[in-house]
């Protein structure tokens, strides 16, 4: 082998080592990004949902709202530009005067209008029925907010502070209730459900609507429940009892 070939060989060898050293950290990061958080991949066999019993929901109680704000790092203020992922709504029947109080959040529709209209596909529905916004591809056009029948989405109008590691937020993007997906994927329950139970109301039941043995499925079978704006046939994952 002539000296030129040897030098070329040495150069190629060193270059390969250098390239490997440069790429390796990126490969490791890529693996982290694609690691499954839960034990099981997201499955279409599950349909996560909530049943809200309005007869147990107390007017003036904000436990679910406060818990959501704490869990997701939301400021909790209520100016028209502030994000509210869940809010308490007080209703009075115009004819009978009957009063009802209930929380409203993203209804996690099976046919979500927000997903249909999103130009980039940033609004998406997981196999298990949870509707989310991909913060990396949301361009902040707010068309999903125009399309949502439930006023469930908020636009981040100002720079954010106090973000939680599990709940990325950012100015200029749209956001809404994630059904506490970071907890659900680890086998947990949404914070609003836990707070309502801890306050002794137990007005919100969370579970798998596709599992006939789950408490939510039994309750939905036993009682009359309604979906908001059922006329739109969006088939909401959130159902209300006593409305």
């Amino acid at each position: 082998m002539n000296p030129v070939d040897q030098r070329r060989r040495d150069f190629l060898g060193k270059a390969a080592v250098a390239a490997g050293a440069m790429i390796a950290p990126g490969v490791i990061l890529y693996d982290y990004a694609h690691a499954k958080q839960g034990a099981e991949p997201v499955s279409g066999k599950v349909r996560w949902g909530m049943l809200i019993d309005t007869t147990k929901c107390a007017s003036g109680c904000r436990e679910c709202v406060d818990a959501c704000n704490r869990e997701n790092g939301l400021p909790g203020s209520t100016r028209p530009t502030d994000s509210q992922w869940i809010r308490k709504v007080d209703l009075k029947d115009l004819k009978s005067g009957k009063a009802v109080s209930l929380p409203v959040m993203c209804q996690h529709c099976a046919e979500p209008p927000c997903v249909d209209v999103c130009p980039t596909g940033a609004s998406f529905k997981r196999e298990d029925g949870i509707v989310l916004v991909d913060r990396h591809t949301c361009i902040g056009c707010r068309y999903c907010m125009m399309a949502c029948p439930y006023k469930a989405r908020s636009f981040v109008h100002e720079p954010t502070t106090g973000q939680k590691p599990d709940v990325p937020r950012g100015k200029g993007c749209v956001e809404s209730c994630t059904l506490c997906v970071h907890k659900v994927d680890r086998g947990g329950t949404p914070s609003c459900v836990e707070a309502c139970a801890a306050a002794g109301h137990g007005a919100i039941v969370f579970g798998d609507l596709n599992d006939p043995a789950s408490e939510i499925s039994k309750r939905v079978r036993a009682a009359t429940t309604t979906q908001l704006r059922a006329d739109l046939r969006t088939d909401n994952g959130v159902r209300y009892q006593g409305l």
Partner: protein, 394 residues
Amino acid sequence: MEPTSASSRRAFWALLAAGGALVAVALGAAHYMEVHGHAVTGMNNQVVWGLPHVFAIFLIVAASGALNVASIGSVFGEAAYKPHSPLSVLLTVALLAGGLMVLVLDLGRPERLVVAATHYNFRSIFAWNMILYNGLFAICALYLWALLERRLGGYAKPVGLAAFAWRIILTTGTGSIFGFLVARQAYASGVIAPLFIALSLAWGLAAFHLAQCGLARLAGREPMDAELHARVRRLLAIFVIAALYFVAVHHLTNLYWAKQAAFERFILVTGAPYPALFWGGFVVAGSAVPLVLLLHPGFAGPRATAAASLLVSLGALAFLYVFIIGGQAFPLEIFPGYEVASAFHDGQVDGYAPSLPEFLLGLGGIAAAFVIALAGARALPVLPPDTVAVAAAK
């Protein structure tokens, strides 16, 4: 367009500088909105599309209609319109660019435009519109080339036909942005697509007439021969009537449905400032007065037609303010039959008040269209040669 005198050359550069300054101010306003977030606008979580959308939709709808003159020449074979076709196409490009500038700079994340260009959800009419808008630029470029390059003259008709079909589809798409909003009382109607086409015909022809008059004056030429002017005048009147017809059908349909009664009462009678803008701005100042100017024989001059065109354009902005902002200000009806109250302003009419940066951004869109049209008319021979002859004869 070659300015004939030193004074008109000065006027050209002064107008270009003024337009450029307004565009620069708009870019500054957009930067301010991006740094501080949309909290510095009047928009909020109920009125999510504000004044920038009013200007952007006006420009985009007018852009489609500005092709009228070229279409009448190339597609319908009306020879009298053909010399004006290049300006018509240039104006479409200018208005569309101005509208898209406003639309993009009002995004929450305008720097992610590349995401919008690489990620498409084909169930979204917005995604389709991005393709339609970019496609119209490409078709207009070809069309202008075919119109201005004598050797390509034979292609003007097929490209013109493609442009005509494309812009009808494009305006259908723009109207459908609202028509497909199933949950909102103000929208969710198939009639909005043809309504937007009718509006585009009127607004685009009005914009064309204003541009034609302004550029001809700047070049020291006659704006348009009298016979053609009379036809344009009549045509604009017909388009204004067509737009009124579709607006009437939309509201009458809503008035017939009990579930829409509260919304119609709000938008047409009680929900200040929207009824005043609708009746005073769109119906009277933007339609009825222009119709008198366009149809009454006492106002046959080009100045009266220019005044009518200006009023149609201002009426357009009033219409869109009511349509876009009034439509969102009225609360979503999530619980029919109930009185509703919440900390998220459920059941309440939103008190949207536009802020200065929003207005400046919107105005910058019109300025951008103005600058593109002015510079384009200087660089390309878009003004008809026959008016040169008229001017020379004088």
